[in-house]
């Protein structure tokens, strides 16, 4: 019991000695400690800014996606029908057009008439 009492009395004294030594810190050291604290708090401020940016990023991404989706939906019905104007497509249209078939019929008659002409028949027999 007495030992415990002595211990706590000793602990109070050592605590007081330590507190006095802290209170006795010179101004230069206190100033350096203040600077160190400010440096640490600057870190906190920049970390907070980084945190704010990263917390705003998902919201920004959602907003951008919504905007793109809105533009797509809005532009969709108003888009004019695309007119095919490339050359391969034009050729295909000519080949498949009705007038081509008529021209083919005329040419068959022409080739039939041509075969009946004598000067062309002699040319064929020579070869």
């Amino acid at each position: 019991m007495t030992d415990n009492k002595d211990d706590s009395s000793f602990e109070r004294r050592t605590k007081r000695v330590f507190d006095d030594s802290v209170a006795a810190l010179d101004a230069a050291t206190r100033s350096k400690l203040t600077q160190a604290r400010y440096r640490a708090l600057e870190e906190q401020a920049s970390a907070r800014d980084r945190g704010l940016m990263s917390s705003l990023m998902p919201a920004g991404a959602v907003a951008a996606t919504a905007l793109v989706a809105l533009l797509v939906v809005w532009q969709g019905p108003q888009r004019p029908p695309r007119v095919p104007d490339s050359e391969p497509l034009s050729d295909l249209e000519i080949l498949l057009g009705e007038e081509d078939l008529q021209m083919l019929d005329e040419e068959i008659e022409f080739y039939g008439w041509l075969e009946e002409q004598p000067e062309f028949a002699s040319v064929d027999s020579v070869g």
Binding site: E11, R13, F18, S21, A23, L25, D26, R37, E43, Q44
Partner: protein, 202 residues
């Protein structure tokens, strides 16, 4: 810490969450910095290194644990501080071995704690010299303790952490803290009594 913290809490209650944390952590650091510095000086015996250690501990606390509840800051801060102190001591031990291997002496690089002791302050120089003497005697006695006993004593007695917070700061069990602390108190009493330096209680 109490008054500064409650003022900061009141001031910051009008601001955003980030500003609140900033105000609280500033109050905490302002409250703890001088004691942390003295604790570091006692252990590393070098004012410049002690300042670096305290600054690192502040920065790491802010970077990693600013968003934790403020009640957790004291043990976390002192854990970081003690880890940094141990790093410095380990580096110094390696340097000492290196120097002795090449024939030099490590003490060439060490600083004189008496020369680095704080200068007189206050209105009564005689009283101040006595206070400085008492602290030097205490530091010498602390020097003779095993590292873990010294840590437990400084965190419990100087900083006023409770057993649980000291255990968190030291990274050990509460039982170990009690053992280290009790042994430290008894050893310090013996050493200071031997040298007739145990101070009178008012």
């Amino acid at each position: 810490m109490g008054l500064a913290l409650s003022i900061a809490q009141r001031e910051a209650s009008l601001g955003t969450e980030g500003a609140l944390i900033g105000a609280l952590i500033e109050a905490f650091l302002r409250d703890v910095e001088a004691r942390a510095y003295r604790i570091a000086v006692v252990q590393v015996r070098d004012r410049h290194e002690a300042l670096d250690i305290v600054q690192d501990a502040m920065i790491r606390l802010v970077q990693r644990y600013a968003n934790r509840p403020s009640e957790e800051w004291p043990p976390l801060f002192y854990r970081i501080l003690q880890n940094r102190i141990r790093d410095v001591q380990r580096r110094r031990a390696v340097r000492s071995r290196f120097m002795s291997f090449f024939g030099g002496t490590a003490s060439e690089e060490e600083h004189d704690p008496l020369a680095e002791a704080p200068g007189p302050r206050g209105d009564n120089p005689l009283e101040q010299v006595t206070a400085d003497d008492a602290m030097r005697a205490l530091e010498r006695a602390l020097d003779g303790l095993p590292a873990r006993q010294r840590e437990a004593f400084m965190l419990r007695n100087f900083e006023g952490l409770d057993v649980a917070a000291t255990a968190t700061a030291m990274g050990c069990t509460e039982g170990s803290v009690k053992t280290h602390y009790s042994r430290a108190v008894h050893r310090l009493r013996e050493v200071l009594a031997e040298h007739g330096e145990e101070q009178r209680d008012d």
